[in-house]
């Protein structure tokens, strides 16, 4: 896959960013934002996951398009699972 050797400075930078985001998400959870607590927590988690996938897992530097196709498909399948299941269960009480 990636022959590209990343600089260790970049790895340390990503690590600091991940640690800061962890501290931020833990601190924000104590503030009452109403329904936005969940959204903020999940947006920060997704951003952290993105940093791990792109840099630690080298996806940003891979030339292999199949890897990206697998990742996009996996996220799409997960979306189908969550969207269709929640569309059913969250609307049952309405009838």
């Amino acid at each position: 896959m990636s022959e590209h050797i990343m600089s260790s400075k970049l790895y340390y930078g990503i690590w600091i960013a991940l640690m800061c985001l962890t501290a931020i998400t833990a601190a924000v959870s104590f503030i009452d934002l109403g329904p936005f607590n969940t959204i903020v927590a999940l947006v920060i988690a997704t951003f952290k996951a993105l940093l791990v996938v792109l840099f630690f897992m080298h996806v940003k530097y891979t030339s292999e398009k199949m890897t990206k196709a697998v990742i996009v498909s996996a996220i799409f399948w997960l979306f189908i699972l969550l969207a269709l299941s929640l569309a059913d269960y969250t609307t049952r009480l309405l009838s």
Partner: protein, 233 residues
């Protein structure tokens, strides 16, 4: 023979005969790992989906249950896993540069972080055991009901929260244990000098697995510990 793409490649011992080149072999291995990780996303996705649905139905019980687990131990464990992901990434880099001793050291540090995570997780589970919050015959959440007189809490629904909590953290911990096993193997092979700048695919692929388990925790932490931390009304 010289026009065959297989024959022109210099045959290193690591290169299996059914691959045309070392690059193709590496691409096939990492691609296979990503396919496996796609199935893992669906595996954990099912449990995340169950958690979201039950939280929607039994919001009070899930909020109260979530507040009863220790946010600081959860946050420390998140930090431990992020540190372990850093040492994995630096380990792959050491393998790419052919630094054998550095690679072995980083793999060992990764395992120490992994075991520290499991130890902290064990402390959390033991607290829950002492509080009788583990689903089963001795399950008892009178303490949680007492803490939140302003909301109605059904112990049966509280049990669903704790069942999901133990299923999700338990399966994640199982993945961590398997990860430590994989890294024990990698450390042994690295010590023997099996990896070089031209062949380090097992380190890369094992690293992908470790990072994935880290990402699962990155989502478990907010969903189980954080999103219901604000004051209950």
């Amino acid at each position: 023979m010289s026009d065959s793409p297989v024959a022109v490649e210099t045959h290193t011992p690591e290169l299996r005969h059914h691959f045309a080149s070392a690059e193709q072999q590496r691409d096939a291995s990492t691609f296979g790992m990503w396919l496996f990780l796609a199935t893992e996303i669906m595996f954990f996705g099912g449990m995340f989906c169950a958690y979201l649905i039950y939280r929607f139905w039994y919001f009070n019980e899930f909020a109260a249950g979530s507040r009863s687990i220790d946010i600081w131990l959860g946050a420390i464990n998140t930090a431990v896993l992020i540190c372990s992901s850093l040492t994995v990434a630096l380990g792959v880099r050491a393998a790419q540069m052919g630094k054998r001793k550095l690679l072995v050291a980083l793999l060992l540090i990764t395992m120490v972080f992994g075991l520290a995570f499991l130890g902290i997780k064990g402390i959390e589970w033991y607290q829950k055991f002492e509080e009788h919050h583990i689903p089963g015959n001795s399950f008892n959440v009178d303490d949680i009901i007492h803490d939140y007189p302003q909301i109605h809490i059904d112990p049966r629904h509280e049990q669903i929260f704790f069942s999901l909590y133990f299923a999700m953290t338990g399966l994640h911990a199982l993945h961590m244990i398997i990860g430590v096993g994989i890294f024990t193997f990698l450390t042994y092979k690295a010590w023997k000098g099996a990896y070089s700048p031209s062949y380090y695919t097992p380190v890369e692929v094992g690293g992908l697995y470790w990072h994935f388990v880290d990402i699962v925790w990155i989502y478990l932490f907010p969903l189980l510990y954080l999103i219901d931390r604000k004051p209950l009304r």
